[in-house]
């Protein structure tokens, strides 16, 4: 009896030990186990296989503004936007000086007056002959400046009148050094004077052979017809110079090009869906890009709304660390 009770006690001790161990493990295990059920991973689940195309149905395309177009040729107009200034035509400018020094006895023309060649502008009494003589304009045009007043003693050192023929004016365009190689005679130019002036266009008639030492710019000139007189010398203008006109076999709107994983891509419609296609971009104008390779004429591509497709493809990665 005694013996067995000792054995019992021993068994009990072992039993306790077992139970206590289980209890401890259970307590300690909870926090360890507790961390497994992190169910915060919505959105990553389907990212196992990296898919490289996106499928959208018609409704979604309309909803997200995805537009598909057919690849084709286009004409690219490469332009330069340059500042400039309207100047009077040097070749149609006349400085009228008194032939002899003398006293002004009569002034017949005012600034702004239109004159015809050989019109009398002023009458001057010569100091030498003391007889009056007439100052006549050499060309037809407009009086743009006058430095002569009644009773004034004038001499031949000073021009009395400046007459300009403003039926043609010059648009002198400032060409920066980096653009010089691209600007040449005969290129078409659109002139915009801003401030509600009507636009005008013409061709470059002259590119200066030298560069101004101070401003480091060269000059290109467009002769503008100015019968209406809106182009007043001194007006600031902006000139769009069409430096190149290209027929390219494949061009896409700028909105079609997306940067995806470091490459320029265009989304192309394939049987599976829309797939990003790396392309090589050639020349460009304001609205279009030439595609040198990667897109064949006749293929259907996404011309608008490509961003949505790109975002869908890159979606797996933008959960990032902090956005849960």
């Amino acid at each position: 009896m005694k013996n067995s009770s000792i054995r019992f006690q021993l068994n009990c001790k072992l039993f306790e030990l077992l139970i206590m161990t289980v209890a401890f493990l259970a307590i300690l295990a909870h926090p360890v186990l507790a961390q497994e059920g992190d169910d915060d991973h919505d959105g990553h689940g389907h990212g196992e296989e990296q898919k490289d195309w996106v499928r959208l149905d018609q409704d979604e395309m309309r909803e997200f503004g995805v537009v598909v177009s057919e690849a084709g040729s286009a004409v690219l107009e490469q332009t330069l936007e340059l500042p400039g200034e309207i100047r009077a035509d040097d070749n149609a400018l006349a400085h009228i000086v008194p032939r002899f020094s003398g006293i002004v006895t009569e002034v017949r023309a005012q600034v702004g007056d239109r004159v015809v060649a050989r019109d009398i502008l002023a009458v001057i009494e010569s100091d030498e002959s003391l007889s009056p003589y007439e100052m006549k304009t050499l060309i037809s045009g407009t009086v743009i400046d006058k430095h002569i007043t009644l009773g004034e003693a004038v001499s031949r050192e000073h021009a009395g009148f400046i007459i300009a023929d403003l039926s043609n004016v010059w648009a002198d365009i400032t060409v920066y050094q980096r653009d010089l190689t691209r600007v040449s005679d005969g290129q078409r130019v659109t002139i915009d004077g801003g401030d509600h002036l009507p636009g005008a266009s013409g061709r470059i008639s002259y590119v200066a052979p030298i560069v101004n030492e101070k401003t480091r710019t060269a000059l290109a000139r467009v002769v503008l017809p100015n019968d209406s007189g809106v182009w007043r010398p001194g007006t600031f203008i902006t000139a769009q110079v069409v430096v190149d006109r290209l027929d390219v076999p494949v061009a896409v709107p700028r909105t079609a090009l997306q940067m995806f994983q470091g490459h320029d891509v265009v989304f192309v419609q394939t049987d599976e869906g829309f797939a990003p296609r790396p392309v090589v971009v050639g020349r460009a104008d304001r609205n279009h890009l030439e595609i040198v390779s990667g897109l064949a004429p006749g293929e259907f591509y996404v011309s608008q709304g490509g961003f949505t497709l790109k975002a869908e493809l890159g979606k797996e990665s933008f959960g990032g660390g902090h956005d849960h």
Partner: protein, 1041 residues
């Protein structure tokens, strides 16, 4: 000592009653003043430093702003970690302090150091400011301004928000900040035509200078006139666009050139990094009310509401404030859940008492312990600054059943002794003796219950903040119940309970009918087990095995998700997205959501508004879903069903990651800012490119270690940049300095603020920049002209190379170093060995350049810390429990027998979880801890009595059976009261019930097995553990008593 105190209390009954009433009165008073919250605040103790530098890229923000701020924060006392994010235009430095540090002290020392940081940040690069004195729970109310007339522009609405609504709301006590978002902040825009600059030969700088110098008021002291003083002031402030237009830039030959000759002048919208949309149709202006740290949510909210009423009255006709998220709803719902549980628990417990006590009077005495203990706990809560919330009140609800236990034992004994007492014995004397008998065991039993909750006090982090309040209130309530049982119960017994001879039940030792009924089947069963102890042992072992087998089958989760009752759909879009595209996408999703009939309105916030609460970039949108009244739903209800509907309706949104979350959850997650995965590998180093390459390498290697799942590299890049790299040779040719170029880039493209225009106290910035068509495309930027000192005008792209690159979207730093993290979960093996293996693999195959460092972190680190702490605390607690038991029984054997209850109780809890399909979680663990306490108490009640019988000379086997039968009533009573007290929590579906349910399940399930086993196994095992009946043990007993 204890006996003398009890004697004293019985001798001064009036005093005792007065003190009791005072305590209860004070408790009630405390209750009315107790701050009320929805949940315990789990936000970390942190001070945020925000610096807004409009227009600066992440790299520059980091270099010029974040680094100086961060550097200033190092070495502050109590700082645990400094983490920073440099975003486009915004630097956020989070300074995490130890939880024990006072937030105002922390802010003060941060403020002092900020002074240093300000000196280090270059002029014009922003001014670092501390975030609002608030926490993740601080966003108490969101509203939007509804314009029913449709006449107000977004700019006007924003002005109303910023200068009317915000102004008034900020005066409400407890409101620390009101943050506006949406609409357009009004600004005066001077948009310069660059060709006009050429025409008039002025530079941008000169224009900005002129604007600045034509807009100020001065004072010039006073003059005396006829014994009076006249203050001299000169008013030269521009008052509007007219004044700006007529600013003279220069005069050429007497002809003034006005600003209006050079620029378009008007009011416009400030650059914004966020907006707010509503119902897929339009933008709205909205605001967020941020509550001051530590203030009472419910009073702040009600004050804000009444203020809103007031403001509504002064708003222009047709404009009104519409709250769309109110934490009040959540607070009310959460508090309702627990108070309901509390009240129902009290009723159930009272019913049980009536049934088992077999008399109204003793039941009343016991029931009185409930209000006393609860109010006692509330009094202490107020003293220790605990707020009333889901968890703290939940603690009371859990303790309901346990609070009565001490008094039950006391009253039961008094009842028994009164019945046995002779006619001529003094009632007080009998009661005093009865109380003396059980006083000590009650003291020990309740102390043990309090003690087992101690490990919870040591919990840290989020779990700690969540469950410590619960542990505190349980401990406080138990303390209250102890005071009641020991000092008040005797007094009330003497006043309310009748002596035996008057009792209707009559016969001595008579038990209530129900107990007698139960004893009929119980006696033979317990007899069987006492005779065949091994059967009992096998049964117990079998149960343990069952429990051990079920444990691995249980799922596990950290903490069940609290249902806040408000659904937030969070969209994450491509990091490179523009605000307008982001808005377009958000509206599409809004329209899809509104296709669900249960959804009445959707209001979304994109990006961030005024800095202070959110730092989200514009590629993230948070959509608040407002539901129709539940009666109109097609489905039976519940947040989860609605969430399923939303998931179904939204489907896959192209280009958008959709997550469903909740307001507080979201904000707190953002503040914690930790990685949510189990494991995070952080690579620290300087060069972002190197970091990214190495991160990809490490991710590849970690992904190959067995057990790795969801390996993901933190995406740090993805924001396109137009990088202007200044060509030093080119600028040298023209004699231009770098800053001259950059000044033009900054002002012409970005814009520069050149003063303010005051309209009353309202201030609006004057922004000078180029007209949009001279700066909005890369092509335009190439053509921006720079004037060289020699007079040459040079286009920008002749001085700088311009390239489009993909830059970092944000730069994260920790402990003064950049890092990139790789997240990973581990499946099917333990994390420790996984980390060791992965670390070896990384050491072998990744060759990190010098200065680069790999560290391991994530949830697992916290878990390891918690485990280490618990590995010390739990055994120490058990040791103390054992010591207490030993102190109570004076016998190691008895103590061990009682400890046996613990594993047996565990089984029931595990089975309970398994049957109800719940997971092992932190609240379940808390349930197990509570269970230990109750199981120990049960064991004590029984063993004490068995010992007593043995001492009285009853033979062992007979004592076991007789004792078990006689103690059937108290054991069953304490168990049923506890279990029934928890029933309301078990079946509640209210807000927050999901956190309490696992806890209640474990306790109820555990009580079931533990009571069964207490009643069957303990009597059976008792002979093995009994103190030997012999001379020596008898002396021990006598010595002790």
């Amino acid at each position: 000592m204890l006996e003398r105190l009890m004697e004293f209390s019985l001798g001064n009954r009036l005093l005792v009653i007065v003190v009791a009433l005072l305590v209860m009165g004070a408790g009630y008073f405390a209750y009315t003043r107790l701050p009320v919250d929805a949940f315990p605040d789990v936000s970390p103790n942190l001070v945020q430093v925000f610096t807004v530098t409009e227009g600066l890229a992440p790299e520059e923000i980091e270099k010029y702003v974040t680094f100086p701020v961060e550097a200033a924060m190092t070495g502050l006392p109590g700082v645990e970690k400094v983490r920073s994010i440099s975003n486009f235009g915004l630097s956020v430095v989070n300074v995490y302090f130890q939880d024990s540090l006072d937030i105002y002290f922390a802010r003060q020392i941060v403020g002092e150091r900020l002074q240093e940081a300000r000196e280090q940040i270059p002029e014009g690069f922003g001014d670092p400011e501390m975030g609002p004195i608030s926490t993740g729970m601080g966003l108490v109310l969101f509203y939007f301004l509804d314009d029913t007339t449709g006449e107000y522009s977004l700019e006007e609405m924003r002005t109303i928000q910023d200068w009317l609504v915000k102004f008034h709301l900020q005066t409400v006590p407890g409101v620390t900040e009101v943050l506006g978002i949406g609409g357009h902040e009004k600004q005066f825009h001077i948009e310069i035509r660059p060709e006009q600059l050429l025409r008039y030969d002025v530079t941008l700088d000169e224009v900005i200078d002129r604007v600045r110098s034509n807009n100020l008021n001065v004072g010039a002291q006073f003059i005396e006139k006829n014994a009076e003083e006249f203050v001299v002031r000169s008013v030269g402030l521009a008052t509007g666009t007219e004044d700006l237009r007529s600013i003279v830039i220069k005069t050429e030959d007497g002809t003034p050139i006005f600003l209006s000759d050079l620029a378009e002048i008007g009011t416009g919208a400030a650059v914004r990094r966020g907006l707010q949309t509503r119902n897929g149709v339009g933008e709205v202006v909205s605001g967020q009310v941020v509550k001051l740290f530590g203030t009472n949510s419910s009073t702040v909210i009600s004050d804000v509401e009444s203020k809103l009423e007031e403001i509504n009255r002064i708003l222009p006709e047709g404009v009104r404030i519409v709250p769309y998220y109110q934490q009040k709803d959540l607070v009310e719902a959460a508090v309702r859940t627990v108070t309901n549980a509390l009240l129902q628990g009290i009723v159930l417990v009272a019913v049980v008492l009536l049934i088992f006590m077999g008399g109204l009077r003793p039941s009343v005495v016991v029931a009185l312990s409930l209000p006393f203990s609860v109010l006692f706990a509330v009094l202490l809560m107020e003293r220790f600054g605990l707020s009333a919330n889901l968890m703290s009140l939940g603690g009371l609800a859990i303790a309901i059943g346990m609070m009565v236990d001490g008094t039950i034992v006391m009253v039961e004994n008094v009842d028994r002794r009164l019945r046995l007492a002779g006619r001529d014995e003094s009632r007080l004397r009998v009661i005093s003796q009865a109380c003396g008998e059980v006083g000590r065991p009650i003291l020990f039993a309740i102390s043990i219950i309090i003690l087992v909750f101690v490990p919870l006090f040591t919990l840290q982090g989020v779990e700690g903040k969540t469950f410590r309040p619960l542990a505190y209130t349980v401990a406080m309530a138990m303390l209250g119940s102890l005071v009641f049982a020991l000092f008040l119960a005797p007094t009330f017994s003497s006043l309310l309970m009748r002596s035996g001879r008057k009792s209707r039940e009559g016969g001595a030792g008579e038990e209530p009918r129900i107990v007698r009924w139960l004893q009929v089947p119980y006696r033979p069963v317990v007899g069987f087990f006492v005779r065949r102890r091994w059967t009992a042992a096998v049964l117990a072992a079998a149960l343990l095995v069952v429990g051990a087998m079920i444990v691995p089958r249980l799922g596990s989760e950290f903490t069940p998700k609290l249902r806040e009752g408000t659904i937030v759909v969070r969209l994450t879009m491509a990091p490179s997205i523009s605000l307008s595209e982001s808005q377009r996408t958000t509206r599409i999703v809004e329209r899809r959501l509104l296709a669900i009939p249960e959804i009445r309105e959707v209001i979304s916030r994109i990006g961030r508004g005024e800095v202070g609460a959110h730092t989200d970039p514009i590629n993230s949108a948070e959509m608040y879903v407002l539901l129709a009244p539940e009666s109109e739903w097609r489905i039976s209800g519940g947040q989860e069903e609605i969430e399923d509907l939303i998931r179904e309706e939204l489907g896959n949104v192209p280009g958008v990651l959709v997550n469903l979350t909740q307001p507080i959850e979201m904000t707190v997650d953002e503040l914690l800012e930790g990685v949510r995965a189990e494991l995070a590998v952080k690579i620290f180093g300087d060069d972002l490119d190197v970091l990214m390459v190495q991160a990809a390498n490490v991710a590849a290697i970690v992904g190959q270690v067995p057990g790795a799942a969801d390996v993901q590299v933190d995406q740090v890049s993805g924001t396109p940049q137009l990088l202007l790299r200044i060509d030093r040779k080119a600028i040298a040719r023209y004699g231009i300095n770098v800053d001259e170029v950059q000044e033009v880039i900054r002002a012409a493209i970005g814009g520069e603020v050149a003063g303010q225009i005051y309209e009353g106290i309202r201030r609006f910035d004057i922004l000078v920049r180029y007209v949009p068509d001279a700066r909005s495309t890369a092509e335009d930027i190439r053509h921006v002209l720079i004037t060289a000192p020699g007079g040459a005008r040079v286009p920008l792209d002749q001085l700088a190379s311009i390239e489009e690159i993909i830059g970092p979207r944000q730069i994260t730093r920790e402990d003064n170093q950049r890092f990139v993290s790789i997240q990973c979960n581990v499946v099917g093996r333990d994390i420790g060995s996984f980390v060791a293996e992965a670390q070896d693999a990384i050491d072998d195959s990744v060759d990190l350049p010098p200065g680069y460092l790999v560290t391991w972190g994530g949830q697992f680190r916290l878990q390891q810390e918690a485990n280490r702490r618990l590995a010390v605390v739990v055994p120490v607690t058990l040791l103390f429990v054992f010591l207490l038991l030993f102190g109570s029984f004076g016998s190691i054997r008895n103590s061990l027998l009682i400890l046996l209850n613990i594993p047996l109780a565990l089984v029931g809890g595990v089975v309970g979880l398994w049957l109800t399909g719940q997971n092992l979680s932190v609240p379940a663990s808390v349930g197990f801890i509570a269970l230990f306490g109750i199981a120990l108490e049960n064991g004590m009640v029984l063993v004490t009595y068995l010992n007593q019988l043995l001492r009285d000379g009853v033979p062992l086997a007979e004592a076991s059976i007789q004792g078990a039968c006689q103690r059937l009533r108290p054991v069953l009573m304490t168990a049923t009261t506890t279990a029934l007290g928890l029933f309301p929590l078990l079946f509640s579906h209210g807000t927050g019930s999901e956190v309490q349910r696992p806890l209640a399940t474990v306790v109820v399930g555990g009580l079931f097995t533990s009571t069964l086993l207490t009643l069957l196994v303990i009597p059976a095992f008792y002979p093995w553990f009994a103190v030997k009946t012999g001379q020596e043990s008898r002396t021990v007993m006598e010595n002790r008593s």
